[in-house]
Amino acid sequence: MGILDIFKGKLLDPTAYPSVHAKGDVITTTVDAVVKWGRKSSIWPMPFGTACCAIEFMALTASHYDLARFGAEVLRFSPRQADLMFVAGTIVDKEGPILKTIYDQMPEPKWVISMGVCASSGGFYRSYHVMQGIDEIIPVDVYVPGCPPAPEALVAAVMKIQDRIMKGEQAKKPQGEHRLGAPGDGFIDRRARKAAWAKDDSERLAKGLPPRGVVSFRVLNNNEPEAEPEHHG
């Protein structure tokens, strides 16, 4: 018994990797697969908990639901040591620049789970001080609905992230990453915001500037043809 058996049993499907030797002493695989497996099984989440959802997040990490079963129990409160951010709770305008700073401080590759309707869309707080969804300022990979979502839903979200890591997908392209302070930021109506962003992008294009939502140095999956920049609003 050794680490190779673990690889054979859990990591590699022999039909997909015919180069695994039958006797089990030697396997050949790609570094890529091992790295993916490692990333998948040791996600270090950072809870950006602000409100009610943070309480349910605590329930997720505590004894009953036990996030450790998915290899993600090492909660890091420093963004520099984390690769998955749970945005748990309402993000208000005052908190916006802080969320953005913390997201920027996380090393790549990084993932974001938007927990609950407040983080996803502002929820039922459509008011003068509440951000209408964190995707106004940072990209989101998995949205979890619910107010607050049950811990089972969060487990599903973590598994979705794991699946995507195994498939080699990159985190979602920045949607409105650099939108903070752009025209249209602060519009409560998503359609109005989308229109304002489109107008802003076309004005930037006329000046020869890239659209605000695109960060140039970020390396995305090279095999896939680059899709047209799309603005989620």
Partner: protein
């Protein structure tokens, strides 16, 4: 003969004979404009020139003795009244057990009033809030700046002419909260808003000399999600889900308080079975809240075992709530005039079983912590606050009782039938972290005692009041007869229509007195809802408490205060 008919003489207010009104009118004379006693709430309107005088009199007169500062807020009447703004002060006397509401009106052209900062320590932040949300200026206030909204916000959000959803974006957070002298060698440490010890989103900036905190300043508003503004465009029912998200560690109790406040406004009490079930679930919520407070507090100090133990049994209380109403955390189980539906079969047995489990785990945590020397060293004589300061800041609940004041609304002003149950109010002696921990631990046991008694005499009958103006008719009737259908339609479409007036409803929530000050104009939406948040007062004292202490103690103190962001910033 007085020049205006509004001028006060004791004979002009025959509707009340409360000593508070008598003494105030005797002492202030014509400066008392109006005395009102409606639904048991005494409200006295004074001239704004007598504002500080009235508050000082309330605090110092031995027959009044309003030492406990509760709440100060603004109200905007727009065109409804001659003077647009009103400032409202709530206070309580622990010795005489009475509440009072003092009001002063301010015209729009000159919305200024003297500050109460010297009278009550707790008034400081409340006045900043009134400035932030209503633009009311407080003359002589030491630091009248925005508190809940951010520095780039334009306008005053709670004013009636401010659109509900007009946002202003903040690009750069406020960098400095403290005034650091130029040649100072002290180090500035910024804690929060995203910091594990800050439980959500509070921010503290501390000036350090070695490990000693020389100066500290707190900033809040990172969870200001406008409960009060949203309430002004929601019917009395629709506000229930919003109340769940105030103190989300014990959601049920907020709804309970809201329902009682609206029932007070309507004059419609809930049936006895509903009240008994409310008491049972409220006490379970209190236990859950204390579990979170103790569990997370010791996690911050490095002990994770109690957290796992307490969360295990907390999960079982969640299951009970889930069986009752389908939701774990944000329950929305109460209705105005009762409960949404009756409890499921086997509720009593399940509760009895839970009581045993709660006892077991509480005892284990007690064994792990109470005599643990590491824990005791971190907690004893740390963050002590005197009785007088605690009252002046407006502390309530376990924190005030930790400081040695036996004020528990369940005993002093019983509601929902708490007078039938036999329980003790634990009180601390020194007012340090250890006292607050012991008070919480004992309150868990007392709550279990209350639940046991309530289960023993759980009355039968309906769980919602039989009143067409308040409660929806049963679903079966709605589908089978036209009268019920019309009642249902009208109630859903028009909402509950309370009489015009104002009440202050208060309950003992897990963190202390949770009050709702409701102003109704007789329409389906409340004109103004002000939450009296226990955490707001408690957190206000925090920068003062950590000054002179060690930086590590600041972490121990904040966990023990159990500040909940949703309630703090609303």
């Amino acid at each position: 003969m007085a020049s205006t008919p509004e001028v006060a003489t004791p004979a002009a207010f025959p509707q009340t004979n409360k000593p508070v009104a008598r003494i105030l009118t005797e002492r202030l004379g014509a400066k008392v404009r109006k005395v009102d006693d409606w639904r048991g709430d005494l409200a006295i309107t004074v001239e704004r020139s007598a504002w500080v005088e009235a508050a000082t009199l309330l605090r110092d007169h031995p027959e009044l003795d309003f030492k406990l500062f509760l709440d100060l807020c603004g109200v905007d009447y727009l065109d409804e009244r001659e003077d647009r703004f009103e400032v409202v002060l709530h206070a309580y006397s622990v010795t005489h057990k009475h509440h009072v509401r003092i009001k002063a009106t301010l015209p729009e052209s000159d919305a200024t009033i003297d500050t109460l900062d010297k009278v009550y320590k707790g008034a400081n932040w409340f006045e900043r809030e009134a400035w932030d949300l209503y633009g009311i200026k407080f003359k002589g206030h030491p630091n009248l700046v925005r508190i809940l909204t951010h520095k780039d916000f334009v306008g005053h959000g709670m004013r009636k002419d401010y659109p509900q959803s007009k946002r202003h974006v903040l690009k750069e957070p406020e960098a400095w909260l403290l005034n650091v002298p130029k040649d100072s060698e002290a180090m500035v440490v910024n804690i929060g808003p995203s910091h594990p010890a800050m439980h959500g989103c509070f921010r503290v900036q501390a000036l350090l000399d070695g490990e000693t905190i020389q100066d500290a300043e707190a900033e809040i508003g990172y969870m200001h999600r406008n409960f009060e503004k949203m309430s002004e465009a929601r019917t009395y029912w629709q506000i229930i889900p919003y109340t769940d998200r105030l103190n989300y560690c014990s959601s049920f109790m907020n709804g309970h308080g809201w329902a009682l406040a609206v029932e007070k406004l309507l004059g419609v009490p809930a049936p006895p079975r509903a009240e008994a079930i409310r008491v049972i679930l409220s006490e379970f919520s209190r236990i859950m809240d204390h579990f979170v407070a103790i569990g997370t507090n010791v996690v911050d100090l490095g002990a994770i075992t109690p957290f796992f133990m307490l969360f295990r049994v907390r999960e079982e209380i969640y299951e009970l709530l889930e069986e009752c109403c389908g939701a774990r955390l944000t329950v929305s189980y109460v209705r105005i005039g009762g409960l949404a539906n009756d409890v499921p079969d086997g509720f009593v047995e399940k509760c009895r079983d839970l009581i045993k489990r709660c006892h077991k785990y509480t005892d284990e945590v007690d064994k792990l912590l109470t005599r643990n020397s590491i824990f005791v060293n971190r907690f004893k004589d740390v963050g002590a606050l005197s009785k007088e300061d605690a009252l002046s800041y407006g502390w309530v609940g376990p924190c005030l009782r930790g400081s040695g004041v036996a004020y528990d609304i369940r005993k002093d002003q019983p509601y929902s039938g708490y007078e039938q149950y036999d329980f003790d109010v634990p009180v601390g002696t020194v007012g340090d972290c250890y006292d607050r921990y012991l008070v919480r631990l004992e309150e868990i046991r007392q709550s279990l005692r209350i639940i046991e008694q309530a289960l023993g005499k759980l009355p039968g009958g309906p769980v919602i009041v039989d009143d067409k103006r308040v409660a929806l008719p049963p679903k079966a009737d709605v589908y089978s007869n036209i009268e019920a259908l019309m009642n249902h339609f009208k109630l859903v479409y028009e909402g509950i229509l309370p009489p015009p007036g104002e009440v202050y409803g208060y309950t003992e929530a897990a963190n202390g007195e949770l009050g709702y000050y409701i102003v109704s104009d007789g329409k389906k939406f409340p004109w103004r809802v002000k939450v009296r948040p226990p955490c707001f007062n408690i957190y206000q004292a925090y920068p003062q408490m950590i000054k002179g202490g060690q930086i590590a103690d600041a972490v121990a103190i904040i966990g023990g205060l159990n500040i909940i962001a949703g309630e703090l910033d609303r």
